[in-house]
């Protein structure tokens, strides 16, 4: 059996003397060379998991290893083997681009030259600003520098905590291109994100909410396991139709999704034609209905409703 790059067994982490369960009995493995995504909203427990794995936080219970080393006993060994890019920008703002990179290389007893091939593609994009203090860089450039600093000691496992949060759609695409390149260098990458559309770019993903893993598999398998036929509908008065469908007894779930609303039916025999009739009953103008393949966000919404129905129904009252 090959040793996994990262392994968690029944990890529990609470805050506020046990009142807040940030990580609730989480177990999973990340294979060597895998690009693994931890997908979930703020407060799901993603950062706590990252901090436990990078030996910066102690779990209340459970065991975890990185490259076979225990996160508690072997923390010093692990710190030399991993690269960590925290969610908050944590480089030295008053050091220049070059100084920051040299600093991190020196700390890990290496040089920029030694591992230059690893950071070359990313570093060359920020090299024109070599003498600029890191604090004066744009958001996108800060992110690239932080990635270089996390890579410069040639880590075996790279932990990226929400590297694309607050970043615009174009820069997000560029960042994922860089990750794809890195993956070819055989580095195991564990990345977290609240953007569900990024999930499709990972080898495997864990969907996490309220400290619990709701599902863990390849993005394709998670999509394939969506249990019901899913339909997309729209009409001229979008919001009115959405409200009508939500309260209709034949409709299972119905929620807005871009220019369409996505919906499932309680009875699987009710397909497009039935939904079109239903729309007509509510006098929807220019109604359009089609069957669609779910995306990860559909799966996430479904799992949230299933695993936490009491809270979901409470929230629904709130509307």
């Amino acid at each position: 059996m090959l040793m996994p790059a990262v392994s968690l067994k029944n990890i529990i982490k609470t805050y506020a003397s046990g009142k807040v369960k940030a990580v609730n009995n989480v177990s999973f493995d990340v294979e060597r060379g895998e690009l693994f995504g931890l997908i979930g909203p703020d407060g799901a427990g993603k950062t706590s998991i990252f901090r436990i794995l990078t030996t910066l936080l102690l779990a209340d219970k459970g065991e975890a290893t990185v490259e076979g080393k225990d996160v508690v006993k072997d923390y010093q060994v692990i710190r030399n083997k991993v690269g960590y890019m925290p969610g908050r920008f944590s480089l030295y703002q008053d050091l220049t681009v070059a100084e920051n990179l040299k600093f991190f290389a020196t700390i890990f007893k290496t040089t920029i030259e030694e591992n230059y091939n690893l950071v070359k593609d990313i570093y060359e994009q920020i090299k024109p600003f070599n003498n600029r203090p890191a604090g004066k860089l744009s958001g996108g450039m800060k992110q690239k520098l932080a990635l270089c600093c996390a890579l410069i000691h040639k880590p075996e496992v790279l932990f990226l905590d929400e590297p694309t949060t607050g970043v615009d759609a174009v820069s997000r695409k560029e960042f994922w291109e860089m990750l794809k390149q890195l993956k070819q260098q055989q580095i195991t990458i564990m990345v977290s994100t609240p953007y569900m559309d990024e999930a499709a770019l990972c080898d495997r993903i864990a969907l996490i909410q309220n400290g619990t893993i709701m599902s863990l598999d390849t993005p394709q398998n998670i999509i394939n396991s969506f249990p019901d036929p899913l339909y997309a509908a729209r009409a001229n008065d979008f919001y009115r139709l959405l409200k009508n469908f939500r309260t209709d007894p034949a409709v299972g779930n119905c929620y807005a999704f871009g220019e369409y609303m996505h919906m499932t039916m309680k009875d699987a025999h009710n397909t497009e034609a039935f939904i079109k009739e239903l729309a007509a009953k509510y006098n929807a103008e220019d109604a359009e209905v089609k069957k669609i393949t779910p995306v990860i966000e559909d799966c996430f919404i479904r799992l949230m409703r299933e695993t936490d129905t009491t809270r979901a129904s409470l929230n629904e009252q709130a509307i």
């Binding site: 744009s138 949060t165 759609a169 929230n315």
Partner: protein, 247 residues
């Protein structure tokens, strides 16, 4: 009386030689949900700060809720609501105390605060949480509460700066229900977001590139204009043209 909540004409803000906002011109109609999009560093925040009466333009004209951005900044502040992604309520005050505080800041009477506050807490389904510290609420509820507080004084316009960042997909949609309801009650919504599916929920969208408004229309028309089937496609085509660095 004009039915324009915002009128913006050649509005410009320079920092030294740098044109952060470069002659932007657009109107927002009362009751409209107006999406204000752009890549990082395109000038959105600078433009919003001028419209909220927090910074003076270098040149150009603009009025917000009928008030001039040069001469009537205080009037603007009293007539708008504002909410950012950074949570702005006091975590160590209770739900009710936050409502009382913000109601007081906007000059509502005690009796009015009591009446509207009770109403709001019950519509939000927070009756049992009214005396809890806001810091104890889940993020999604906090954001919904923050929005309700931002429109508590019934402003003509509310500015929402990435209100749903990091929020789970179910709560994100509930948040948009609140936005729709506010718009149906005549409040103009001016919103920024990085979620392209949310751009679709807006009546009209403007997209800023390098300090200029490069596109402004309904989501359907923009998709037609850029010959693509998603807002993501529109945004990508425009933002890729950007010459200057982000932020």
């Amino acid at each position: 009386m004009s039915n324009k909540a915002i009128i913006c004409k050649n509005l410009t803000k320079k920092f030294g030689d740098f044109k952060a906002v470069n002659q932007i011109t657009f109107d927002v109609v009362q009751g409209e949900i107006f999406g204000f999009l752009g890549a990082n560093g395109a000038g959105k925040t600078t433009a919003m700060r001028m419209l909220c009466g927090l910074s003076y333009p270098t040149s150009g004209e603009a009025s917000v809720a009928g008030f001039n951005v040069y001469k009537q900044q205080e009037k603007i502040k009293a007539n708008i609501g504002y909410m950012s992604q950074k949570f702005s309520l006091y975590e160590n005050l209770t739900v009710l105390e936050n409502i009382q505080f913000y109601g007081g800041v906007y000059g509502l009477s005690r009796s009015e605060i009591k009446k509207r506050g009770d109403e709001m807490v019950s519509t939000l389904g927070l009756t049992n949480e009214a005396k809890k510290f806001v810091g104890e609420l889940p993020l999604g509820w906090k954001q919904k509460l923050a929005f309700s507080v931002a429109i508590f004084h019934r402003p003509k316009i509310v500015f929402l700066d990435e209100p749903t960042g990091g929020v789970d997909p179910v709560t994100r949609r509930q948040f948009w229900d609140l936005i729709y309801e506010a718009a149906a009650n005549g409040i103009t919504i001016f919103v920024t977001t990085h979620y392209m599916d949310e751009a679709e929920y807006c009546n009209r969208i403007s997209i800023m590139v390098d300090g200029k408004v490069e596109a402004l229309d309904t989501p359907a028309n923009l998709k037609k204009q850029f010959d693509t089937d998603s807002m993501d496609g529109v945004f990508y085509q425009l933002a890729r043209r950007a010459q200057r660095g982000a932020d």
